[in-house]
């Protein structure tokens, strides 16, 4: 309760400073709208459904691409951890491509797929995949051999070993890879949406882009606010509980 109070107070003060800066006319009101104007934009956009549709479209792109990235990334990571050939080939490729900022996939995706949903999906998958491959590979390599040996003597082998021993033992690594993959995917999708208008749907990035075109600063800041909130919610609703659970089980402090 006390923590919540402090948090609320902190953000209230932040908004207060913003309001003050607006009233003091430090910057032109075109560049810095009042908090209230941003609030009004969000209210209108929420009421006429723009915000809702854009959020749905963006999240659909993000989640589809992310899930595809996970579905391929985790098994690929297992493969590179177990096979030396796969490690030297796919593993090296993953390491290289992971260092590539995922925005750099946008031009290539545009040329390959044109201004389509496929281009968006491709960018998100590329953002997710390599982080997940590397984290899974790393996690599997870090499973203490004694777990395997203990499980072997109890009659565990092959698939049972993978699903009931190696996977859960590597889970802390895999989850941190998933978190990183999520962050990369989210960033690259925003970049792609800002760069590319796609007629099949306007996402949040596109709303941001048109806000700039129209010099509608209330829209730009409003959408940025929504993007931040989505990022926060993903962390609080999905990643934080999983991490807390893992920390509690493993006895590692959060």
């Amino acid at each position: 309760m006390k923590r919540l109070l402090f948090a609320v107070l902190f953000f209230a003060i932040l908004t207060g400073i913003w309001e003050w800066a607006y009233r003091a006319k430090i910057w032109s009101p075109v560049l810095l709208p009042a908090p209230q104007q941003v609030g009004e934009y969000l209210k209108t956009a929420a009421e006429d459904g723009t915000l809702y549709h854009a959020t749905i479209i963006t999240l659909r792109r993000l989640i589809t691409g992310y899930v595809i990235g996970l579905v391929f990334g985790v098994p690929l990571g297992f493969l590179t951890a177990r096979s030396r050939v796969a490690h030297d080939t796919i593993g090296t490729l993953a390491l290289g491509l992971q260092t590539l900022p995922s925005v750099c996939w946008v031009p290539l995706a545009l040329l390959w797929f044109g201004q389509t949903e496929a281009a968006m999906l491709f960018v998100v998958v590329m953002g997710t995949l390599w982080s997940v491959v590397i984290a899974t590979d790393n996690g599997v390599r870090n499973v203490p051999p004694i777990y395997r040996r203990a499980a072997l003597t109890m009659g565990s082998k092959r698939l049972h070993m993978w699903f009931k021993v190696i996977f859960p033992a590597a889970l802390p690594f895999i989850v941190s890879g998933m978190k990183q993959g999520w962050a990369f995917a989210w960033r690259s999708l925003m970049a792609a949406e800002i760069f590319v208008s796609i007629l099949t749907g306007f996402g949040l990035g596109q709303l941001l882009h048109y806000g700039r075109e129209l010099s509608a600063m209330d829209q730009v800041i409003g959408i940025m606010f929504v993007i931040v909130v989505i990022g926060l919610l993903a962390d609080k609703i999905f990643f934080s509980p999983v991490e807390t659970l893992l920390h509690r089980r493993w006895g590692t402090s959060a």
Binding site: R149, A150, L152, T153, M154, G155, A169, R249, G251
Partner: protein
Amino acid sequence: MIGQHDHASALAEELQVIAPSKLSIENVSKSFRSRAGQVQALDRVSLNVAEGEFVCLVGASGCGKSTLLNIIAGLEKPDAGRVLADGKLVTSPGRQRLVMFQESALFPWLNVLGNVLFGLKLKPHLTKKDRLDVARYYLELVGLTRFERANVHELSGGMKQRVALARALAPNPRVLLMDEPFAALDALTREQLYGDLQQIWESRRKTIVFVTHNVREAVCLGDRVVLFSPHPGRIKEQFGIDLPRPRDINSVDLAEYSSEITRALKGFTNDQLAYA
């Protein structure tokens, strides 16, 4: 009613004391490549272990006693020679021969009960209820009933090894292989576990091969103490321990045996050093 009866009989069958195995180790050799070159961990080691016997393998570190244990478990393959369990060649690990390691090797993603259930879930003929009952039976045997929901990291070192013991006993193996299971524990906890282990061994009748570098521990637990000499690992001498059970590690008789064996151990270890 019928279901209940079936459950009871399946459970009784699962919990019954089964015949322990006879082990024969025949001319087993094993070498490793290390930075210092080829290391002969075991050199033509032969050893017979009777059904239900408690044998302790003692020696300085690097004498190959843990390697021998791994070979008996089927976790490693000998370069030459073979291991037979009840006349059958050991080629791979199997739940007739369960291993308890020095570190507990408990799985941190499972709680205490989950760990004990792990091996039981690999026995397909058991129902869920059977498994739970068997797991709880062994948790009670090691005195940890209250901790079945605890996470592994919340347990003390001694409790972890108790869980590991319950986990190794639960699938009802014929052989228990123990690789310095108490080495990392404090003296008081260790003494308590000596008592518990002797008691469990008497009630469950397992063949136990127990690796340790602690002579007193070996004398306290074993029917027989087998001394290993290092480089290359060979069996040097064997001692039958003819003391009544349960044995107290602090008793005078036990101390006499221990000092005799320690003298023997020092004798050939010093020879080794003189040669080296």
